[in-house]
């Protein structure tokens, strides 16, 4: 029985990372109305930048602070230099331009770090396990759960409690109305895109010590983020949280039952949710 309990807690850890991945995607979609295929590439950059900083002998904590800022800045630039010129075009080109961007980033990563994966060490402070009686759990994973929970609260506050957040929420209802009220929507577009990129990068940094960094983790993460968003409902913060946790737990528990099929089961879970609730667990219709 305790193996299942352990896997559920493991699943919560993975699920919080999935949440982090999906929430950025979801916010960007809510405002900009297209799905960012380069989201996985920002996650990939997060993991590799973390690897690079630790190779330089810098600490993991510094990477955790600096990498999201760097990737966020890259996202900000991307929005300003590339995406801004595509908004007036047909909808599919919004998506395709990010597909192109994702390809470029992935190839640049391979160019710089090679096609094989790299290992990222767990920071010294978080090595080893915690023990409470018979319960044993890796410290690092516990840290990831705690850290992402704090981060989720912070994000929730930004969205619900700040002026930027209310502009974002209003903008996802009606961009035109918000700009009529005298708010510079394009500034908010850049900021939100940067925020999305930064959250993906944080997920990348946090994931690096658990699964290493390899060039194709971006597309894999993108697929998972889509599943989470489809399950939870697009544009919903709590949907991303519930979807992420559900998918994480399903994957983790299934990995003890049927290891080869664990990744498959998250897609099966998605299909099941879709058939029962076509707009996701917490999604709005339309």
């Amino acid at each position: 029985m305790s193996i299942y309990l352990l896997q559920v807690i493991n699943g919560i850890g993975i699920g919080m990372l999935y949440f982090l991945l999906a929430v950025g995607l979801s916010i960007v979609f809510g405002l900009l109305r297209f799905v960012n295929f380069a989201h996985g590439a920002f996650y990939l950059l997060g993991a590799y930048f973390c690897f690079q900083m630790m190779r330089w002998g810098l600490s993991f904590w510094l990477a955790l602070a600096v990498v999201p800022l760097v990737v966020g800045a890259l996202g900000w630039l991307t929005e300003k230099l590339v995406l801004r010129h595509v908004y007036a075009k047909a909808h599919e080109f919004h998506i395709l331009v990010t597909v192109g961007l994702a390809l470029v980033i992935q190839e640049l990563v391979i160019l710089q770090w090679g096609p094989l994966g790299e290992n990222v060490p767990v920071p010294d402070m978080l090595q080893g396990v915690v023990m409470w009686g018979g319960f044993v759990y890796p410290k690092y994973r516990l840290f990831v759960i705690g850290f992402t929970a704090v981060l989720a609260l912070g994000l929730w506050y930004v969205l619900e409690g700040t002026r930027l957040g209310s502009a974002v929420r209003a903008g996802s209802e009606s961009t035109e109305m918000v700009s009529l009220l005298g708010i510079d929507v394009f500034r908010i577009f850049s900021l939100v895109f940067a925020l999305g990129a930064a959250t993906a990068a944080i997920a990348g940094v946090l994931a690096a010590p658990m699964r290493g960094a390899e060039p194709f983790m971006g597309i894999e993460a993108l697929g998972v983020a889509f599943v989470v968003v489809v399950v939870g409902g697009m544009g919903s913060f709590s949907g991303a949280l519930i979807g992420g946790l559900l998918i994480g737990v399903v994957q983790s528990v299934m990995s003890t039952v049927w290891a080869e099929g664990a990744r498959l089961m998250i897609y099966v879970a998605m299909a099941a949710v879709l058939l029962l609730r076509p707009h996701g667990l917490l999604g709005r219709k339309g």
Binding site: V99, G100, E220, M234
Partner: protein, 339 residues
């Protein structure tokens, strides 16, 4: 939106013009190219891109799941040719059927969603198919894929009609299949059904309000697309002799989509251009620089930013400029007439 792309009046002459153009390409490749396999690949991926084009250009559906049908086609032909003594054309038909069936299943779920949800679902299903293929090694060979797929000659009884052993012999067979499939697809896109798809693409609400069954129309387009892509996957597996897991990967879906977009979604033949560009430039660049996909990513961004009609559109404008005023005037007149 992008009405200027495909609503050019498709007169019978124009339709035959494209078929003749395709025939010219098919005949020109053996004269200009060294490798029969590369030439076959251009036609095979051209078919797959056309299947994608039928969705993107004609129905307005952006599908990241074409790799599913490509993979299904290649697995099906590999299984039938290695395990059951089925004649090759029948095995090919079975692969087409499996492609169509897969598309019907994926479409049935994905088409309930619109816009972005649909796009995400196609990718999620592509990943799902990959993991299905990966976790069923008994059927698909898992990570190794299926190997040693034979390439039997086209024969009636014991009389060999068309040996397929050498690459150029196989190219001849692929070319024939390609031309027939292209002709059929042209017929479909020029039919009332094809025109209705354009209506769905241009204004879904209005098409629905007129009384068209949107889901059914989209599903039909999806099934046709799946069938063509399944055929392409089967031809590819027969060409290489293997049905690798890579055929079911995201990369295959992405490749098919990128070919379609770079070629241009205005008409079906543009997809052949996209496939030829991708494979020939790729073949040339990959010997010089293994990371040539980087350039491809940049090309895709450029096409999305300022060249939405793709290479075909670029060629068309260049041609109009070259052939002078009269043609350009004609175009302007016909565009004015439409607006």
């Amino acid at each position: 939106m992008n009405t200027a792309m495909t609503t050019k009046t498709t007169t019978p002459l124009r339709r035959h013009f494209h078929l003749l153009l395709a025939l010219a390409v098919v005949l020109a490749m053996p004269l200009t190219m060294q490798s029969g396999s590369l030439a076959s690949e251009v036609l095979i991926y051209g078919l797959a891109a056309m299947g994608c084009n039928l969705l993107l250009g004609h129905t307005g559906l952006l599908s990241f799941g074409q790799g599913i049908f490509f993979g299904l086609g290649s697995y099906t032909i590999a299984l039938t040719l290695t395990r059951w003594p089925l004649p090759m054309p029948l095995a090919l038909a079975l692969a087409i059927g499996m492609g169509a069936l897969g598309a019907a299943l994926v479409g049935w779920v994905a088409i309930r969603q619109r816009g972005t949800y649909f796009v995400m679902l196609t990718l999620a299903f592509a990943q799902m198919f990959y993991f299905i293929a990966y976790s069923m090694p008994g059927l698909t060979g898992g990570d190794n894929g299926l190997m040693d797929i034979p390439r039997p000659s086209l024969a009636v009884g014991k009389v060999t009609l068309w040996p397929l052993a050498s690459p150029w012999q196989y190219y001849g067979f692929v070319a024939m299949v390609f031309l027939v499939a292209f002709w059929l697809l042209q017929r479909v896109s020029a039919s009332i059904f094809g025109r209705t798809l354009l209506a769905v693409r241009d204004n879904e609400e209005r098409a629905g309000a007129i009384g068209y069954d949107l889901r059914l129309l989209k599903l039909q387009a999806f099934v046709i697309s799946g069938a063509v892509t399944g055929l392409a996957g089967a031809l590819h597996a027969m060409m290489t002799g293997i049905a690798p897991l890579a055929n079911a990967e995201y990369h295959t879906s992405e490749m098919i989509l990128v070919m379609t977009v770079i070629g241009g979604t205005g008409n079906l033949l543009a997809s052949l251009l996209g496939s030829a560009f991708y494979l020939l430039v790729g073949d040339w660049l990959s010997t010089l620089w293994p990371r040539w996909l980087l350039i491809l990513g940049v090309v895709l961004m450029v096409v999305s930013l300022g060249l939405q009609r793709g290479l075909w559109g670029l060629g068309e404008s260049a041609w109009n400029r070259l052939t002078g005023r009269r043609r350009a005037g004609d175009d302007a007149a016909s565009q004015g007439g439409r607006a």
